[in-house]
């Protein structure tokens, strides 16, 4: 074999190998992790999948006994059938997250000690709330990639005054300190590590080095003796490992599209879904090579959009009651319910439930021939 032929054979082998790359399943780590990152992913999964008890710091208020209780289907990091309760007060144009009444996450369970002390099974619903929201547990796949998208990319998609007159007016939410948000159904939280640390506290009542104080009971302090575990209830290493697991979860590889699916993908753009569900985003710099300068299927712009009065529930940050962040479309093939509160049993119902800025796209979907509607749904089910 001469040199040129040899190189051609090597190139062919590489291209065949790339084409035959094993699809990433839900729960798989990103491709290209080094050994240390793979190790942290595996060890982080153990913490993520831990069950906490009151003796390990659980509660005294909580929604779940571990991350994996809610993010479990079809693999750890996936979705769950739990539905939690949030509440805020919308006062004029300002949103009150009801911190003095226990915060906007209304925990649905109490430890035996708290129940014995106060006789309650859940956190009292805040009397000042002007709205209640139900929230399903979303998949947390690709969250590390979403975290690595530069803020400038998100802001570049914003058009709050609809200057291009397309009926879409995406705008960023902002956290309490003014930073641009991107995580959560209202895009309130700016960074993945903060989302994870906050979730330990708000969802499980687990204090940690980033959140050293327990949630209050409707704004009142925890009764003496109810939570004897000293703060923080997990250490920095456990927090960092959990963050590593979530950060390094890959987006599942979309299924191969058939003819209908390809037609559906064209229609997704043609009828305007892609105006908000932006098909791909690109990450910026990252200390993790597998997250650095990667283009990935996100199907979100990470911005808030007015979704109309039928979906409206709570405000949060700058998000008004009818504003929601464009949901990343990930692992729809495994989803059993849709929209932020799980009210839609099918993708068709979810699309038809869109309003506000999505009214045009929804109506164009409804106006499609049945075969085209089915093709679009087939495309979504490939994700």
């Amino acid at each position: 074999m001469n040199g040129a032929r040899g190189w051609a054979a090597v190139a062919l082998l590489i291209s065949v190998a790339a084409g035959c790359e094993r699809p990433l399943k839900p729960g798989d780590p990103l491709r290209g992790l080094n050994r240390a990152e793979q190790d942290r992913f595996a060890r982080g999964k153990v913490v993520f999948d831990s069950t906490f008890t009151p003796e390990k710091g659980l509660g005294p208020l909580f929604n779940a006994t571990g991350c994996g209780e809610c993010h479990e289907e079809p693999a750890k990091g996936g979705s769950g059938d739990e539905v939690e309760v949030h509440a805020t007060a919308f006062k004029g144009r300002v949103c009150d997250p009801l911190v003095e009444e226990g915060g906007f996450v209304i925990q649905q369970h109490t430890t035996p000690a708290l129940k014995q002390a106060l006789g309650i099974d859940s956190e009292p619903f805040p009397p000042s709330a002007t709205a209640r929201a139900m929230r399903t547990s979303p998949v947390v796949f690709a969250r590390g990639l979403l975290d690595a998208v530069p803020e400038s990319v998100i802001l570049a998609y914003a058009d709050p005054e609809d200057k291009n007159h397309d009926g879409i007016a995406g705008r960023p939410n902002r956290f309490t300190d003014g930073r641009v948000g991107r995580f959560g159904r209202k895009a309130f939280v700016p960074a993945l590590d903060e989302f994870n640390a906050g979730a330990f506290s708000a969802e499980m009542g687990i204090t940690n080095p980033a959140v050293r104080t327990e949630e209050t009971i409707g704004g009142k302090p925890i009764p003496a003796g109810v939570d004897p575990v000293p703060e923080p209830e997990i250490n920095q290493e456990e927090l960092d490992l959990t963050d590593a697991f979530v950060r390094l979860l890959a987006p599942p590889t979309p299924l191969k599209l058939g003819r209908d699916g390809r037609r559906g993908r064209e229609l997704f753009s043609d009828i305007g879904c892609a105006a908000c569900h932006v098909p791909t985003l690109r990450t910026g710099d990252s200390p993790i090579a597998a997250l650095r300068n990667k283009e990935f299927a996100a199907y979100t712009d990470l911005l808030l959009h007015d979704m109309g009065p039928d979906l409206a529930d709570i405000c949060l940050g700058l998000a008004k009651p009818s504003d929601f962040r464009t949901e990343p479309l990930l692992d729809l093939r495994d989803a059993k319910h849709f929209l932020h509160d799980g009210r839609a049993a099918t993708l068709e119902q979810a699309i038809e439930g869109h309003g506000g800025e999505a009214t045009g796209a929804r109506d164009r979907f409804k106006g499609l021939p049945a075969a085209d509607r089915a093709a679009l749904v087939a495309f979504l089910k490939s994700l």
Partner: protein, 107 residues
């Protein structure tokens, strides 16, 4: 993140018994958060880490400098929903704001 961590840690201090507080020196703290309430001589800020949101109560004095939109402003010019940065010190009497800077107006 460091400021947020310190902020939440401080909340722990503020919630702790007076005996623990009295042991503190006048430590400097900086918070950036959303104004929840502003009254004569007092400011409440909403801070947080992700979904875990907390309130920091601070007192102001006549010497507290308040800036916003390129000029000196009055504490009473701040409104709920405004984002401010507050440079404070923790004293035995609680948290005292020395400087408050308006970063973003409420919508």
């Amino acid at each position: 993140m460091r400021n947020l961590t310190r902020a939440v840690a401080l909340t722990a201090i503020l919630l702790a018994p007076g005996a623990a507080l009295s042991a503190q020196r006048e430590l400097p703290y900086t918070f950036q958060g959303t104004v929840r309430a502003v009254k004569a001589g007092a400011l409440d800020l909403i801070i947080g880490v992700g979904e875990a949101v907390r309130v920091v109560h601070m007192r102001t004095q006549s010497a507290t400098a308040v800036f916003g939109e390129g000029a000196s402003i009055a504490l009473g010019d701040l409104q709920p929903g405004d984002v401010v940065r507050a440079d404070c010190r923790l004293t035995q009497a609680g948290l005292i704001a020395d400087k408050i800077e308006l970063k973003r107006r409420a919508p």
